[in-house]
Symmetry: C2
Subunit: 518 residues, 2 copies
């Protein structure tokens, strides 16, 4: 493979910008930022569109019943600046709740980087669990997402680095802590146990919350939570290696075709009329300005396909078939002999971008410079190094380059990342040791097809810090609502989670009874 021009080679900088947005499943760790310094081209639009939406429209009628309430939060929990409070939105359902005298549990979903109604609509597991546990359900929204906007509006909150300053994980955790403490008082539910749920970044929040606020929640289900994807705790090539392996597993020739395609596309783009040819062949709505755009567009598709490589059809942003990577590779491999690599890629990627066959042309790069919540988080705390290895990855090779990421953040946000902060705050290389010695009651659930699984906890750490790993699962599949098509291993995974949560609650009740009996 020849050297890529510099901007393209910079696939770098883990944790993109693109919200993994698809209405029928639950989110949502963003992708590693693909190619180029001006790369966050998909994300802002989805996130913004979503953040302005409510639980109708794309989502259809709300699938679950809840009340929408608001809570005044301090913008800064850890300092006493004279800042305006903001209204945190939270969704609440008490209809199944056993009440304070029966110590009815409280299930709290740690809202992550998006509209909370979307997470509520797509976290069926929590809703399905609540009646059997007689649990209250609370979905607090993450600050700076959805309706929970400081300074009164998205425009004001996202104006500049100064208004975005308080969009951090620690502040979000403190929001949850303050909210639940207050709610428990209001419901006279101080003695009721809280169980945390979260997927993706929300799973990281759930695990961290259990560690930092053990007095507030008795356990956490952290699904697809890459808590180890910081500094050099896991190798930076992990994410793209897993995506690549997902394809190689299906077909070596598919993997090879994709791996070869970057150079071919690049060469094609340099020919006279090459960009026109590519525009037409890939069916973009307007003419390409460089092949970088295709590379980004393809990288996103492959990564999303890996995250959402579910065993049954799902209606994502675009609908997808069951085992979509298998379908992509079938398309790539089964073209007639003599089909060009470019044509094979076009066919393959149509599984992701045009499964219904109804799309006439594809948009690229809708809002490359829009302010975006996760961009900000990736440019401040959530610095997750990624690279693409020369051999194991099917993506163009590139090394992690912190400096260029730092430049990007400065240029776009006027902020300097703190790449070691998350490790300092939550534990870095010693994180598993910390879990083992100071943590308890955390489930790390992962599907090995999910490229984020490589940054999560994949082995049991102790009797109560447990890894539930499914070979064929993808990104927090377990949190989705049950379906008739669920394979046995998924049914079993969820049953194991239920049993563990039941165990936490039983132990809690036993201890409480002991206190009552005394």
């Amino acid at each position: 493979m020849t050297n890529f021009p510099k901007p393209k080679a910079n696939l770098s900088f883990l944790i993109s910008l693109v919200l993994f947005f698809f209405p029928q499943t639950i989110s949502s760790l963003p992708l590693p930022r693909p190619y180029g310094l001006r790369s966050p081209q998909h994300a802002p639009r989805f996130l913004r569109k979503f953040s302005l939406s409510n639980n109708t429209g794309r989502l259809g009628a709300p699938r679950y019943r809840y009340e929408t309430r608001y809570f005044d939060q301090n913008l800064d929990h850890f300092s006493f600046s004279d800042l305006p409070t903001f209204r945190q939105r939270y969704l609440i359902n008490t209809e199944y709740w056993g009440g304070p005298t029966k110590l009815g549990p409280i299930f709290l979903y740690c809202g992550n980087e998006g509209d909370i109604e979307w997470f509520a609509a797509n976290t069926g597991f929590v809703w399905e669990l609540a009646p059997r546990f007689r649990a209250m359900i609370i979905f607090p929204e993450h600050r700076y997402y959805g309706e929970s906007m400081p300074y009164g509006s998205w425009e004001e909150a996202y104006k500049n680095a100064s208004t975005l300053a308080h969009l951090t994980a620690e502040q979000a955790l403190a929001d949850f802590a303050v909210l639940i403490t207050e709610l428990k008082k209001n419901f006279s539910a101080q003695a009721c146990p809280v169980v945390l749920f979260g997927g993706s970044y929300g799973g990281m929040l759930a695990a961290w919350m259990r560690l930092k606020y053990p007095h507030i929640a008795i356990g956490a289900l952290a699904s697809s939570a890459p808590v180890l994807q910081f500094e050099d705790i896991v190798p930076p090539e992990t994410f793209y290696n897993i995506v690549s392996n997902d394809f190689r597993r299906e077909s070596i020739s598919c993997f090879n075709t994709i791996k070869e395609s970057w150079d071919v596309i690049e060469s094609e783009g340099q020919k006279t009329n090459g960009l026109s040819y590519l525009t037409e062949t890939f069916r973009f709505c307007r003419k390409l300005e460089s092949t970088d755009d295709i590379s980004n567009w393809l990288s996103s598709a492959y990564s999303y396909l890996a995250m959402a490589d579910y065993p049954y059809p799902a209606d994502f942003l675009m609908p997808m078939p069951a085992n979509p990577i298998k379908e992509v590779c079938k398309k790539i491999d089964n073209c007639p002999d003599g089909t060009s690599i470019i044509q094979r890629i076009v066919e393959g990627v149509s599984v992701y971008y045009n499964y219904t066959g109804k799309v006439d042309c594809f948009d690229l790069d809708d809002d490359p410079h829009g302010m975006n919540g996760w961009n900000w988080q990736a440019c401040t705390e959530m610095v997750m190094p990624t690279s693409s290895s020369k051999d194991a990855s099917m993506f163009p090779a590139y090394d992690y380059n912190y400096t260029s990421d730092e430049e990007w953040c400065w240029e776009n946000y006027r902020v300097k990342p703190r790449p070691t902060w998350i490790s300092t705050e939550f534990g870095g290389h010693g994180f598993k040791h910390t879990l083992k010695n100071f943590g308890s009651n955390i489930i790390f659930s992962n599907g090995l097809l999910d490229p984020w699984s490589g940054g999560s906890v994949l082995e049991d750490i102790s009797e109560t810090i447990v890894a539930l790993v499914t070979e064929k699962g993808a990104h927090h599949l377990d949190l989705r609502p049950a379906t008739a098509e669920d394979p046995d291993w998924l049914v079993e995974q969820r049953a194991a989670e239920v049993k563990l949560i039941q165990g936490w609650l039983d132990e809690y009740f036993k201890r409480k009874r002991k206190v009552f009996d005394m």
Copy 2:
């Protein structure tokens, strides 16, 4: 006892303002704020004078050898505001250190509300321990105290609520975490165990740090740390009841004389020339404007006497004899028959204010409105309710009145306290439960004469969360340097601490060796 006029009755509002400042011992939980809304009259001067001082002058030549270094800290660890960094001062000694290959421990004293050189000079225990453990010693200064001033100077840092905003315990803990992480890297000491030490508010920081950053330190000695003195976890009358009991224990008539004295002083002040008489009798340098000033002055003395009721003479701010409360009561009780209550009080309090007999007259109220670090902390996070009970306390009775404290804070700092925040962040009523289930390796050492002991942890919580309680100890006596006059119980207490710390280290080394052997 008759009703006191309103301002006097408001003894209220725990956590004063007055740094418990005396050069020869180690600090330093401030006193509950005595009487009146404009009460912080002692504190600012001591603190300010001290914060501007260095390790000469009152302290004399430094008793221990260290280098003074500085570290650039983010002013806000939990948000990304575009704020200037500040230089955190820290003292370091590596001469005893075993080095990285021998996993030489790092002893970190959690600097509290004052100049770190003063804490270093008065925490002999850590210095005496270091050689036998081959430990590095680090004394980082608490932000906004001593030389560790944001915005370049005390004047700028203490200008207003906006500049003071980042003076919080969580930010201070994060300072320690970031500093030690960076230092360990620089010394290639990532594998070296850190042991935390702290007294009073510093002890609270040490305990909280062990809970919130267990990946950073293997254990904490939290001496005289009233971690439970929040909300209604312990009764608000605790502090003054203990002070009062310290006096009653010595002599019931002494206790009664003091208890009766407030009304007598008050009545005297209302007589014609009464204030002149009191000014002269108490030997104040300038004429009293109200009897409130005497009340504050006396309350402070009694509380400090209780905190520093040590078994050997110590050179405090004013030198004091061994068992000073016994001496005060002797003076009060042993006056000739017919001596007035006021005269008895004058005699008694001279043990605190004029033990050398060299003071001609006493100053009052030197800098009542000076900005003061602990005032700010008490007006934001460190809201520790206090009251004085009608029967058990020898102080004027008063109820805790949060509202008037809130008003005081608003008037003086334009800040509103968050009285439930510390409990939310670190655990409130469930704090012992949190310790038991999620904590380990913390020593809570307390002397029962210390009025702060009532807000601390006085019983073993688990095998590794241990309370070391001495009946005759006062405020973090164990952290002071050993002296020839140390009673056996103090020698034993320190030996128990050494043994526990040794145990933490042994276990750590054992675990490390296991990893090496693998």
